[in-house]
Amino acid sequence: MVTILTDGETIEVPAGRVEGDRLWLSEAELENATGWSTKKEGLCRGDVCVPIPPGRERDFVRDGQVDVAAAWRHLGKPVVHSQDASVWVLGEAAAERASALQSLEAPNFTLPDRSGRMHSLSSYRGKKVMLVSWASW
């Protein structure tokens, strides 16, 4: 069992196969976990495709499985995993965060309150919102 933390989600992949810094997933698991898939154009999500350099296909796709860690690094996004490789974090690149911030569209998030009830920023659309951080420390 491998746990993958993506941007805002936690996904358990029962059949994830670890090989050093590689994490092999089936095409379906890759798409379910990340929204990315492999096509003849390369790595694709929605309208965006990032080509895989010719001759390096087997670094990414082998026996019907995709190395999501290699794919992630190829996309320029940060990826880390625990020593025992049971937990992987697939992050977003600085450039993506930067362009989201520069768009001035408030990114949505969903978080629990103290009673465990979930709140999404988007459900407050139509009101002015002051979003403020605090901490007990």
Binding site: T3, L5, G8, K77, P78, V79, V80, H81, S82, Q83, V87, V89, L90, G91, E92, A93, A94, R97, A98, A100, L101, Q102, L104, E105, A106, P107, F109, L111, P112, D113, R114, H119, L121, S122, Y124, R125, G126, K127, K128, V129, M130, L131, V132, S133, W134, A135, S136, W137
Partner: protein
């Protein structure tokens, strides 16, 4: 801290959302119970909001208008450096530092009120160009810090404390401007505040640099 302001303005198509950047299970709960706020108080163990909005400290706030547009990016919310001149034994602030701290808070609260009542006509609302200029653009190291931090928090949650702590340390080193990351990792003293000698050493090492980022707001003490 914000309850009075929220109660005053909640019928003006306004809400306040507090996000606790706390990770240890239950840390934030007693504080929320004590304040008994009527606005949403959310728990963000992975510091996701800090990641999405570029927050590096508390309290920092973002103003979002009715259409979901950011009209003031992340910035300190009525905080002031006064605590740096505190008597660290008696835990008392000099009178003038306490006065300026109160002034910063009042200036900020008045600005929020002005925005809520006057909308885009408020002088405290940034136009798009000015808002973009105030965005904190993350570096590659900051993006790497956030994945390291998430991994560390997840490992600590699973009881793999030693390795988790190493990831939090890495995160803090990759993103030294983030007091949130540093303080989350720092031990807590008997008051429940991360104000042990390490904290003061790190504050003192700032020298002439600010603990709270400067705020571009008319009347705000700098």
């Amino acid at each position: 801290m914000w309850q009075t302001l929220y109660e005053e303005l909640r019928d003006r198509n306004f809400t306040l959302i507090a996000v606790a950047l706390d990770s240890r299970d239950g840390d934030a709960l007693p504080w929320i119970e004590a304040a008994n706020p009527t606005y949403p108080c959310l728990i963000d163990r992975e510091h996701r909001v800090a990641d999405l909005y570029g927050m590096v400290n508390v309290p920092e706030a973002v103003w979002i208008d009715e259409r979901g547009r950011v009209v003031r990016p992340a910035e300190p919310a009525g905080a002031y450096e006064g605590f740096r001149r505190m008597d660290r034994v008696k835990r008392e602030m000099p009178v003038d530092a306490a006065r300026i701290t109160a002034e910063a808070k009042a200036t900020y609260v008045n600005a929020v009120r002005d925005w809520v009542l006057n909308g885009m006509a408020s002088e405290h609302v940034f136009d798009a160009e000015r808002a973009r200029a105030h965005v904190r653009v993350p570096t590659d190291d900051v993006a790497r810090a956030h994945v390291a931090f998430r991994l560390g928090q997840e490992l600590i949650r699973r009881g793999q404390t030693e390795e988790g702590d190493r990831w939090l340390r890495d995160a803090s080193q990759l993103h030294p401007d983030s007091w949130c990351m540093w303080r989350q990792r720092a031990g807590v003293n008997e008051l429940g505040l991360a104000s042990q000698p390490d904290f003061w050493a790190r504050v003192d090492a700032l020298g002439a640099r600010k603990y709270y980022a400067p705020v571009d707001m008319k009347g705000m003490p700098q």
